[in-house]
Amino acid sequence: MGGLIAAAGWAPPAMDWHALAPEVILAAGICVLILVDVVLLERGKAFASAISGLVLLAAVVPLLTLAVSDDTSRSLFGGAYVVDRSALLLKALFIISGYVTVLLSTNYVAEGEYWESEYYTLLLSSVLGMSVISSSRDLIGIFIAFELLSIPSYMIAAWRKRDTRSQEAGFKYFLMGVFATSVLLYGMSLLYGASGSTLLSKIGETVESGRATPAVGLAILFVLIGFGFKISAVPFHSWAPDTYEGAPTPVTAFLSVASKSAGFVAILNFVFYCFIQNSSATDVVVPVVFVLSALSMTVGNLIALKQDNVVRMLAYSGIGQAGFILAPLVVAHDRLSDALPSIVVYLVIYSAMNLGAFGVVIAAARKTRSAEISSMNGMLQWAPGLTVLMSVFMASLIGIPPIGGWYAKFSVWRSLLQGATGWSYALAVLIAINTAIAAAYYLRVTKAMWFEEANDGDVTPVDVPPSLRLALAITVVATLLFGIVPSLLTDAAAVPLALGH
């Protein structure tokens, strides 16, 4: 065997198991889940959520050890796979989002007669994909990880199998996703063709050496579109509201947070490790990002004004937020040290508050069986705790200090204004306007909860199971903490500064 290997010139790649530990744990967890299901059959269902929760928590452990280890930047496979602190932060974001999603799902899935252990398997797979994508610095790695995080999510979106809405949600998501994948792939192929390498850093160098050809421009555009779909940037957003509304709500939470963040991470990888290094690529990235960002925030927020369903409203709000998160990319070339942290910070805070909001929606729906805004009427009377939590999350989404969202928006704004280009100023103004528009519909929710009378005077309290409570606690603590002491987050997010750009 060894001889054969030697003859073929194949050398076993140096493996840094420590760096790969989170992924290994996740993969092992997936196997365990399948095994439990296979061995215990029906009885295993009860453990599925616990196991997946534990697996996710276990995966956090190596993240911590990696974070405190001396070698903060580990590069594997010739730079195709990098574990640095920003990657760790993002992995942590994904894994914890995954954990919160598990908490949100526990009762939902158990009580809804779904396929439980398979659900968690797919969820974990998706989280694994996200974890991988945050380290991948190579076209193929990114592509495969992207597919791994997408394909299971298509399926869990349709998980409420007999519900035609859920089916529709899943199918729309799937088809649009595949379109996006195809465009992404086409773009990647051109990128590879133009540079001759699949490594982002090499691509960056090669593209830099020559001038940007139309094909490169096209490639960059197609790549951005491919991921733009994932982050539901307008005009590639159309799946999002429908899917969010139709999918099981915990899945929606997962899609709107983890999956969207993964899209951003992919874009960040491309922009920061590849395009950013040369100005001609930037010439392509900036206008494209500008258009996507401006359209997303405006269209998303405007349509959200008209929504009566909380989930659908959150979908559009997510589209609008995506516009905000994208915005700093227009100054990425000159202001890398501000743009990147501000996006990462936004992602983290956005995840916390959005998951929290969905958590409240799920909790409230336990009583109302509905996600209409009007179903939340008078919630102050029947669920004061949830009302306060929801208000915190809504306030955070609006961006009111000192609740997390303000700092997210603030940091984006700050980098835009610091960039001091026409593009960035325009976006800063748009964000200001959109913040006000957005406030209107977020307020509608608080209005229903606080100001209206309970429907039919029904003020029986809602029963919130412990897992949901835990999820809400995690998200609200994170939301508040990041708002009051943003330095907790900024210190971690600022690390990419040290990466030598």
Partner: protein, 514 residues
């Protein structure tokens, strides 16, 4: 203890109410009495710390920041947890910690419909934290954070416990203010970079903005403009005032009181401390004419607005537009004289209009309407309340010997001689118009007083047993305010002496070459 308070007093006073709110959250809703006691204790504790600060404050150094706190906060954006109190902030700080306990006391039996004392009081306490924090913050970002904290509790106070149009009013309030803050924060950021201070500390920004060539003239004017919109909405100045009558009219009594007494002051305080205090004189001088014209329009406009009202509370609300116009008139002169007057005006307006809203609220509770057409003969039905209303009207129209006069008259006086470099003709014209505004003030306030208090009660209320005279919680809540109105009316020096040293620094900043 003393050392601790010297080091952390401002943080303590800021967060004490929040601690109270947290405690209250842990107490079940049914324990209403306990809730009230906790709220009262928390706010009184803050008042006690406030009094301690008042006692320990070094009045000889009233121009400089005292009780300073300066700790690490958000390193990456160079923002620090920096607080301090000087002669400008001190009166407002004390006003805040004094008003809130009174509001809590007033609420003792007056939790407006739909009840829920717990939520109501918690929101008030959160509000208090926000207001105190804004007055003591010495870092722009910290200021901004506190400035915004105020938003939500007020929104809920209006929206849940307000009148019929409460939802509209609440949202209007919210969106207006939010819009203003958006521009304000942009201005802060722009100032941060363009000045090159690399810090959000007010003093450092002040110094950095004055380095020759640091800020171009255009940049100065634009940055000031951003701040202007943010603060002008809060003040509110014409034409950004339309949220105010709605918010005031719809807010529950305590909400109106806090809104009038404290929240509006955030705007004017911002003008003094930040817009004028930090920005170089070029910007202030460019904007001062705008300020003076808008504030003068506000004075007349607010008065006319009052005259057109049929609802007592709305009338009082509109009068705020006019009164804050006087305050802004003082500020726009960019002189120490005018700004002192403005600060006095802020406190006086807080006391007086706060009282007016208290009375209006109590009347609403008794009459269930504030339609001027239906009111009348308050002096017959509830003579004490009627006289209190008359007293407050007199104070509000700027009668000498009561606090209102010392905010109004010196402001008008200051407008005669604005800071060097400002158009005397313009300011003097505005001064005369503002002086005419005082006639209107007398007109609408007395008209209101006549319609509500004189004459005999209308038939529908003639023998209404609900119309009782001032109750005990009302007395407790009102007496300190009434006494303060007289006290400051007779001894204006109590406040002017405190604010003067600090204001001189601000005025010097706004002066040519300052």
């Amino acid at each position: 203890m003393n050392t601790f308070l010297h080091d952390w007093g401002l943080a303590v006073i800021t967060f004490l109410p929040l601690v109270g709110a947290a405690v209250m959250m842990a107490i079940p809703r049914a324990e209403e009495q306990l809730q009230k006691i906790v709220a009262l204790v928390a706010s009184t504790a803050a008042l006690a710390v406030g009094i301690w600060i008042l006692a320990e404050f070094d009045y000889d150094r009233a121009g400089s920041m005292q009780f300073e706190i300066n700790r690490r906060w958000i390193e990456i954006i160079h923002s620090r947890f920096s607080m301090g109190v000087d002669g400008i902030a001190l009166p407002l700080l004390i006003l805040t910690v004094a008003i809130i306990p009174l509001c809590v006391i007033y609420s003792w039996n007056h939790i407006p419909s739909p009840g829920n004392a717990k939520a109501f009081l918690i929101l008030i306490l959160i509000l208090e934290t926000g207001v105190i924090g804004s007055f003591v913050a010495h870092d722009l970002i910290l200021f901004f954070v506190f400035f915004e904290i105020v938003l939500l509790p007020m929104y809920f106070l209006i929206g849940v416990w307000g009148g019929e149009q409460r939802q509209y009013a609440a949202i209007k309030f919210f969106l207006y203010t939010l819009f203003g803050s958006a521009l304000m924060i942009v201005a802060f950021l722009a100032l941060f970079w363009l000045s090159g201070a690399n810090s959000f500390d007010m003093t450092e920004l002040h110094n950095a903005a004055r380095v020759p060539g640091a800020l171009s003239n255009t940049a100065q004017v634009l940055i000031f403009g951003g701040m202007f919109v943010g603060f002008a909405i809060k003040v509110p100045m014409f034409p950004f005032h339309t949220w105010l009558p709605d918010a005031h009219t719809q807010a529950p009594t305590v909400g109106s009181v806090i809104l009038a007494a404290l929240l509006l002051k955030l705007g004017t305080y911002g003008f003094v401390r930040i817009a004028i205090g930090i920005m170089p004189s070029y910007a202030s001088h460019k904007w001062a004419p705008v300020l003076v014209v808008l504030s003068t329009i506000g004075i007349i406009y607010g008065a006319l607005g009052c005259l057109a009202q049929t609802d007592m509370k709305r009338l009082i609300a509109f009068s705020s537009v006019a009164h804050m116009g006087f305050t802004m008139l003082g500020i726009s002169t960019l002189t120490d004289f005018g700004i002192n007057a403005a600060i006095f005006g802020m406190v006086a307006h807080g006391l007086i209009t706060g009282m007016l809203f208290f009375v209006a609220g109590s009347m609403k509770e008794r009459y269930h309407t504030l339609e001027l057409k239906r009111l009348g003969g308050l002096l017959v039905s509830a003579p004490k309340m009627g006289w209190i209303l008359g007293f407050c009207s007199m104070a509000s129209l700027g009668l000498p010997g009561l606090a209102g006069f010392w905010g109004e008259f010196p402001a008008i006086l200051a407008a005669y001689n604005p800071a060097e470099g400002l158009s005397k003709a313009l300011f003097r014209t505005c001064m005369v118009i503002a002086a005419i505004g005082t006639v209107f003030a007398a007109g609408y306030l007395l008209w209101m007083f006549q319609r509500t208090s004189f004459g005999t009660p209308k038939d529908e209320f003639a023998d209404d047993p609900h119309i009782t005279d001032v109750s005990r919680p009302e007395w407790i809540a009102w007496t300190p305010l009434l006494i303060s109105i007289v006290l400051f009316g007779f001894l204006p020096g109590l406040m002017f002496d405190v604010t003067n040293p600090a204001v001189k620094i601000v005025a010097a900043a706004a002066g040519i070459g300052g």
